[in-house]
């Protein structure tokens, strides 16, 4: 392990020159991102991290790719090992593990975005808090989120408010 440095990835310049440059690695990562080839992204991110430990973009790519290929446990163990703030990723992983209270904790303090709202709504749904879950979708109804109506209907029906489905669908 190289000594911890507060410097950004540039510290890697001091290491012996890698056979492939970090820029080339990121170019490859981008290509695989565009094709949804998540396992390749994990491998290439590891290559970046071997020469630039702690590189924020590489870590973010690795965690996102692990989540995308359903390796939730692996993603969470990476998140827990690094000092970076990956609260949204963490909350999502905990949600997938059904650790709903912890997931909610991890969402707290994050700026409210459509991503955090969608996740919060899904957590509430699993907690059985249907009304709160649907309330969030109401706030999002003008955000043009694809397939939102699926969850809205699920929430309304589960909340015993099937009669509101039609009105809500018209509003979406």
């Amino acid at each position: 392990m190289p000594p911890k440095s507060k410097e950004k990835p540039k510290s890697a310049a001091a290491a012996p020159p890698p056979s492939i440059s970090i820029e080339d690695l990121f170019t490859s990562i981008k290509r695989h991102v565009d094709k949804d080839e998540f396992e390749q992204i994990v491998k290439l991110s590891d290559q970046v991290l071997s020469v630039a430990p702690g590189d924020e973009d590489a870590l973010r790519c690795k965690v996102a790719a692990l989540i995308k290929c359903d390796k939730i446990d692996d993603a969470l163990s990476v998140i827990r090992k690094v000092p970076n703030d990956f609260s949204y990723f963490k909350a999502y992983c905990l949600y997938r593990q059904n650790k709903l209270k912890e997931a909610m904790e991890s969402l707290k303090g994050l700026d409210e975005t459509s991503a955090t709202m969608l996740l919060e709504s899904q957590i509430l749904f699993r907690m059985g808090k249907m009304d709160a879950s649907v309330d969030i979708y109401r706030k999002l109804q003008n955000s043009k989120i694809d397939a939102l109506e699926i969850n809205v209907v699920a929430g309304l029906v589960s909340a015993g408010k099937s009669s509101e489905v039609k009105g809500m669908m018209d509003a979406l």
Binding site: E56, D57, L118, Q122, N151, A154
Partner: protein, 44 residues
């Protein structure tokens, strides 16, 4: 026989929309900017 078909309630479907919000960082600034590099000088 066979018995008549019957409708039965099922659990509503929820789609994992939060999954779609798991995004990769923008990487353009980490990639090579100068496209007229050594290679293109030879082959470009």
């Amino acid at each position: 026989f066979p018995p008549a078909f019957q409708a039965f309630p099922r659990n509503p479907i929820v789609r994992d929309l939060a999954y779609d919000s798991i995004d990769f960082p923008t990487l353009e600034h980490r990639m090579k900017k100068d496209k007229k590099g050594l290679l293109s000088r030879f082959w470009g």
